[in-house]
């Protein structure tokens, strides 16, 4: 069984169309390359909004965070928005300590992330 599983979906809400990438398991340096490839591919489609659902992610390390921040920079350049949704306590703490939560929005749920 893979340490990190991912799924991609698209949706539409009051806020407009969005891409939803859901991560489950544990994201660390050993799978950050695969995560980067996935996010690169989705960001390249130039979505207006990209939401990463973290509700099933038990663990995230700084390598995985860097991959997310890299995707955020590209989305920024493209005029899109990257948001994180539903981080569990350990992941939320890491986002806070690194001040990543000041670089990109972190919502309590996917619903809140896609509402705008």
């Amino acid at each position: 069984m893979d340490l990190l599983t991912t799924s991609v979906a698209t949706g539409d809400s009051d806020g407009g169309p969005y891409t939803l990438v859901a991560l489950a398991g544990e994201a660390d340096v050993t799978n950050s390359g695969a995560l980067r490839e996935l996010l690169d591919a989705e960001v390249a489609k130039e979505p207006r909004t990209l939401v990463i659902d973290l509700s099933e992610l038990r663990f995230m390390d700084s390598s995985a965070l860097h991959v997310v921040l890299r995707a955020n920079r590209t989305m920024d350049r493209q005029g899109g928005v990257l948001a994180l949704a539903g981080p569990r306590d350990p992941v939320a703490k890491m986002l806070r300590l690194t001040a990543a939560d000041q670089l990109l929005p972190v919502y309590a749920s996917v619903a809140e992330a896609t509402a705008e």
Binding site: S62, D89, T98, A99
Partner: protein, 152 residues
Amino acid sequence: MKEKEHAAPSRIPPRARLPLPPPGDGATYLTYRTDLAKVRALVLQQATAAGLSESRANDLVLAVSEVAANTLRHTDSAGILTIWLEAGEVVCEIQDEGTITDPLAGQRKPGPDADGGHGLWLVYQVCDLVELRSDEAGTAVRMHMEIGLPAS
């Protein structure tokens, strides 16, 4: 007050260069290469059994995982995780064959968008005490968490 009493030290205090004392009795050992999930699971199990709160156990898991990840990021060597209890603390040590040359490694807060350097900095943020020894032969990072302290 004589000026000489406040002269800057001419060298690092000797204790800071001594090798770290050996681990306590009943230590648990794990050699890892790429299986960081196993490293994290063992730390979580031992930290929880020792009585660390869920939040602080997760803090220790993050710290140990980041140091172990550095073994993969910066070396070709395997690493050794040692866990033991000592003086009311859970202690985790990571040893590998890498060398940290920056005396301020982990002690400077990286900008949020920095390309690297968050790993060791996080370790210093969440652990109660971090001891680091590094030379050409290898590196040891020893992380202490006091049992019974509230989450921070």
